[in-house]
Amino acid sequence: MCGFAGIARREARGVAPRILERMAAVLRHRGPDGLGLHADERVGLAHARLSIIDLAGGAQPMANGDGSLFVVYNGEIFNFPALKDELVGRGHVFRTRSDTEVLLHGYTEWGEAMLDRLNGQFAFAIYDRRDGSLFLARDRFGILPLYHAERGGDLYFGSEVKALLASGELPRALDAAGVDEVFTFWAARPPRTPFQGIWALEPGCCARWRGGRLTIRRWYALDFETAAAEQPGAVEQLDELMRSGVRQRLLADVPVGGYLSGGLDSSAVCALATRESSAELRTFSVAFADPRFDESAHQQDVAAAVRSRHAVQHIGPEDIARVFPDVIRHAETPLVRTAPAPLFLLSRLARERGIKVVLSGEGADELFYGYDLFKETVVRQFCLRQPASPSRPRLFDRLYPYLAPGARAGEFWRRFFLSAGSPEDPLFSHMPRFRLTAWIKEFYSDDFRAGLGGFDALGELRDALPPAFVHWSTLQRAAYLEMVTLLSPYLLASQGDRMAMAHGVEARVPYLDHRLFEFAAALPDRSKLRGLHEKHILRRWAANLLPTSAAQRTKQPYRAPDVPAFFEGNAPDYVAELLDETSLKRSGVWDAGAVAGLVRRCRTGQATGVREGQALVAILSTQLWQREFLQTPIESGASKYESGKFVLAN
């Protein structure tokens, strides 16, 4: 994977190379192995390369044979050998071994319809000099990022927002609705971002820019089928899809490693990777000093079982506070959780050990109903059918033993879930989470609240649901909402691509092979959630692959310390500076008096609940984000471009 950026002019006035160099330089972390530029009278393209396939021949921007097409591309097309064979059969002549060139020939052969043939994780821009148009596309699930902005008919685009801002031609301002979505869903919902005028191309969408006008269309839509019963041979089919998906994602000219959480999903991927490859697998895990978050014993067991060479990144609260400003710089958004921070450190460890491609278990929980949210939805429905039942709500205690310390919250604990929303609401499954997250908004300043002008993030989401939504089951609806509100904009971005690419590590996601998604989406709910047992078919399949303890282990949510990270021990100076009244008033989002109350409770150890922890992270991360992106110039760091390589300026 790599990073790219560019500008397309409505008028033929060119793009200065120094602007492109600036845009690429801030993406250096994504592609430290090389930089390439193309600029003509209308379009400028910049590419920062992380060499993984065809190390010698895959430089970008890449042109086709007659120079009529240029591509800048970030990602991997895992079925590119088959596509290349097909294209060669149709008379195309290839000059490199890279998957990048397949995009050029595929586009020539099939036009935009090429997208349907791609199996992979990608974002790219193809400049068609024949008609002066630019074609942008993003993969089905939004594994890789792509942003765009328009100003005066010119188009700006890139892998990260900082590249667009580094052009120096776009205003830098906060988008209140985008920020409000972060404090509703955990991330702004594409196409919105927290930056005013800067948009994310939605997963499964493509865009055509021509003559100063951008037209966006969806080329892939998430869909679910209704199946009464599991078809015979479903487990065998799953086995074939998993093996094929992992095998394809081992394709690289560099060693491939794996992230190991200790849970079923990543364990299965790593186990398959060792079976499908002759090379020794390197695996990486985070271990927490706080035993409430730690899964290292399970990780060690799985690493021993799959015979990987295992490395551990130990995480203490002070580590999270130390790297949190870097995390925000890479995530480019306020956050409500610190969970990306350990993954930032983990990618650094992988890179230090010489690994720049890792397999991840992300996506399985959405496909196979692994999250507690799916069980919670079933239990809430079950309880609301007999609201007077005293015994039914006790199921919540079983669901969340780590969130309900002891039984002291009693009835109140359970009523939170039962009062969170009606089953008639299309957002029923997610209302407890949305409501819990939205408590952060209690800390908004009056001015910021007024600036929102009645913006309703939930109302917009309801209005944006696809027509097929009403035909899906409650759990399928939950899976859809999870994928569009959390998977793409938060898990694959803030916890995924951004933290991995912060250190030039490419994360590959076998569960988000679209063939596997479509297989899972056609399974009956009961194959995925049976009673309160999640990922049923995945467990049945993994029984022959993993030790019983790993295959049957109940899902443990990945969490990281929040309040203690910033208020215990030697907290970094920025914490007090950014939570200071003057600083809060200058940035304007938060009410300084309200924050002072929260800080008091954090200092005295009273802020132990989820919602105050989330509020603290939200406030601090917003302050960091504003300082990084809105209050200071976008710098290219200490790097500049010389002779095709990034070099340190000092």
């Binding site: 310390p405 109140f412 604990w413 409501r435 408590w439 008096g593 924050v595 109350g597 409770r601």
Partner: protein, 115 residues
């Protein structure tokens, strides 16, 4: 008359209101929160907040809350808390007097608020 009866429902409500405002409504100091408004339903406290509330009440007033008493009928509003805590304190005082479990001074020590 025991020390326990010195905590009137009004006093209990006032002290609890102050505590709730300092700990759960610090971000909304001007919000009008009535004594009969639901603490949970209005989002003032969450489930972790209930645990804090129970700890506060047990430290501020001389009684213990059993798990089965942590219900909305007893703790759902400030007025409900006033009635419940008052009744519990009175029952404690009566029980202490009936058992002859200590002198008036001893009962005073036993029942003195810890917060």
């Amino acid at each position: 008359m025991s020390q326990a009866s010195s905590y009137s429902p009004t006093e209990i409500v006032d002290r609890t209101r102050t505590w709730v405002r300092e700990n759960f409504l610090y971000m909304r100091p001007n919000w009008k929160f009535g004594d009969d408004d639901p603490l949970l339903g209005s989002g003032v406290i969450d489930s972790v907040g209930v645990i804090e509330l129970v700890e506060f009440l047990q430290s501020a007033f001389p009684f213990k809350i059993a798990d089965e008493e942590i219900v909305e009928q007893n703790l759902g509003t400030l007025n409900a808390i006033g009635r419940f805590v008052h009744a519990k304190c009175q029952a404690n005082g009566t029980a202490a007097a009936a058992s002859g479990g200590g002198s008036a001074a001893g009962a005073g020590v036993l029942l003195r608020p810890r917060a």
